[in-house]
């Protein structure tokens, strides 16, 4: 039996005749991995997650958890899954005690376990003082924390989180990050989507990039960092202002892939090749073209740059 905990195979979701939200998405997530799911708005991230949690059915393809088809056998597939999707409502007329008790029973926890766990979880999400207060009096952040608490209440071995830090303040974001790291240590499999690339890079082992419903890239965060370390991005400051003609001539150099203007003298240039030799070669080429350079700084790119450049290639934002 392989270690694959979450698997999608040729997953497709269409809305109507024209909208293909998820287009032939296939990926595996192994036990204990923390995987980020990234993409611009409308890429299909939330749709994929909704299929994985039986909130919607795929048009074709399968989504399996622990080898069990989620949509055919949701009771078996989801019994060990905690999820947080979008911005869920919480039952305003009830208290955290009542809501968590109900979900605890759904996950077949005993009353003793429920009582114990309520205390622990509310402590974790900083809602201990609000245990018996009606949820309708909560702020948005508090409701979000309660929803997070519900997702981890039954101590699942698999967590599927859609924008987990949405609505949280910086302190809350930090706490969420620590929480996910703690799950990593317990070998909980985490699959999360986020727009906060910085957060993803800090907690995830690997990242799947989704664009226009399709998986465009999957790599470990380590590999992506490594790629970024290959100095493709160089910040150059020229002695004089560059005219349009100057820029056009510069762009025509084969070693240069892209030029981004910071101001009339300062530019961020992406070179084609990633190795250090090409960095020196580009410097020579630019000087030989007659440009006077006063500053030449290769930049260590990060995940955000990678994401932007990847999306840029795809024509997205």
């Amino acid at each position: 039996m392989d270690d694959c905990i979450i698997r999608t195979e040729n997953l497709v979701k269409k809305f109507g005749d024209n909208i293909i939200a998820v287009d032939d998405v296939s990926f595996d997530i192994d036990k204990g991995e923390v995987v980020g799911y990234l993409g611009p708005n409308g890429a299909g991230k939330t749709t994929t997650i909704k299929i994985l949690t039986n909130l919607i059915e795929p048009t074709s393809g399968t989504a399996c958890i622990n080898g069990i088809d989620v949509n055919k056998y949701p009771k078996e597939a989801l019994k060990d899954v905690g999820s947080l999707i979008g911005v869920p409502g919480v039952y305003g007329y009830l208290t955290p005690q009542e809501v968590l008790t109900y979900f605890g029973k759904v996950y077949r926890m005993s009353q003793r376990e429920i009582d114990q766990r309520i205390e622990e979880v509310l402590e974790m999400v900083n809602l201990s003082d609000w245990r018996h207060s009606k949820i309708e009096s909560f702020s948005t952040g508090m409701e979000r924390r309660l929803a997070i608490g519900k997702s981890i209440f039954h101590e699942p071995s698999i967590l599927i989180l859609d924008e987990p830090v949405l609505g949280l303040d910086p302190e809350g974001i930090r706490e969420m990050r620590e929480l996910i790291k703690s799950f990593q240590k317990k070998e909980v499999t985490v699959f999360l989507s986020s727009h906060l690339l910085d957060e993803v890079s800090k907690v995830c082992d690997s990242v799947i990039f989704l664009y226009d419903g399709k998986v465009v890239e999957r790599d470990s965060v380590e590999m992506i960092d490594q790629m970024m370390k290959q100095f493709r991005l160089i910040e150059v400051e020229f002695l004089n202002d560059l005219s349009e003609d100057d820029l056009r001539r510069l762009d025509e150099l084969s070693i240069i892939e892209d030029i981004e203007k910071i101001n009339r003298r300062k530019f961020r240039i992406t070179k084609e090749e990633g190795d250090p030799a090409s960095t020196a070669h580009m410097l020579r080429s630019v000087i030989e073209e007659g440009y006077d350079i006063i500053s030449y700084s290769p930049k260590k790119s990060d995940l955000e740059d990678f994401y932007v450049s990847l999306m840029g290639e795809r024509g997205g934002a």
Partner: protein, 272 residues
């Protein structure tokens, strides 16, 4: 890893019961039960207190029962709307379904539990109404005032309650907003269907045997020794009377067809 059928059934029943108790808690917290039970006790009391102080009671217990119970239909509609109006649609509109539907339960189990969770308190409200009326009859006419027809009327009311709740639950499963489904359920039973019934009876002069609210006339028609006093709230005596067995059949059919249709449609709705 896959369960046996017996284990599967046991789990489904347990999940249904969990949903029912969750729904009852919700109704209690939202003070719906207090409102409905208050009406169930207060409405019959009006028919006891007012005659005692200003007028006189009808000559017979059956006459008293007929007068009193002509408003049970209204109570069924109010309670049904309160408890069933937002049963399904509320989860989608409030997005609480994002928490609920991603749990290890069949969605159909959840919806069946919600239906039962709406039906049970409505049945309880009707029972309280009849209990209050019965106590009043005993107080005015003695235990001899309690007739088999009163019990008959009670059972018919319970059957009618299931069909009214099914109709309102059906609206809850197909519509997008709580307020729309609650109001549509309420006005269908209190106004729209009775109007159709009247048009068929008085203008077209055909018996509207298939209209649900027409069958509701059985609730007081079983008191055969008392002339009919109305076809429902604001209604007038029609030239037709519902046939006993046909009326019950219509109620049962409405209950079962609308129930299954509601669960089927709700099950196909997704948190998109």
């Amino acid at each position: 890893m896959m369960k046996t059928v017996k284990e599967d059934i046991k789990e489904d029943l347990k999940n249904t019961c969990l949903t029912v108790s969750f729904e009852l808690k919700k109704h209690f917290r939202m003070k719906r039960m207090i409102i409905s039970f208050g009406l169930a006790i207060g409405l019959p009391l009006i028919f006891y207190i007012v005659p005692r102080i200003w007028a006189s009671f009808p000559d017979t217990a059956e006459g008293f029962a007929t007068l009193n119970l002509s408003f049970v239909n209204l109570l069924i509609i109010i309670s049904g709307s309160l408890f069933a109006g937002d049963a399904v649609v509320g989860e989608f509109e409030e997005k609480t379904g994002l928490l609920l539907f991603s749990t290890p339960q069949r969605h159909s189990t959840i919806f069946i539990g919600k239906y039962i969770g709406a039906l049970l308190p409505t049945l309880a409200v009707v029972s309280i109404y009849y209990l209050t009326t019965s106590l009043e009859i005993v107080g005015i006419y003695g235990t001899g005032g309690l007739s088999i027809e009163l019990f008959q009327s009670f059972i018919i009311s319970l059957v009618y309650t299931t069909s009214a709740v099914s109709l309102i639950f059906f609206f809850s499963s197909i519509l997008k907003r709580k307020i729309t489904s609650t109001l549509l359920g309420f006005f269908s039973l209190i106004m729209i269907l009775p109007i159709i019934e009247s048009v068929l009876q008085f203008l077209v002069e055909v018996e509207p045997w298939y209209i649900l609210t027409y069958s509701a006339g059985l609730i007081t028609d079983v008191f055969v020794s008392v002339p009919p006093i109305g076809g429902g709230p604001g209604g007038q005596v029609g030239q037709f009377s519902p046939d006993f067995y046909m009326g019950l059949t219509i109620m049962v059919l409405h209950t079962l067809v609308l129930f299954f249709l509601s669960v089927f449609i709700a099950n196909r709705r997704r948190m998109e």
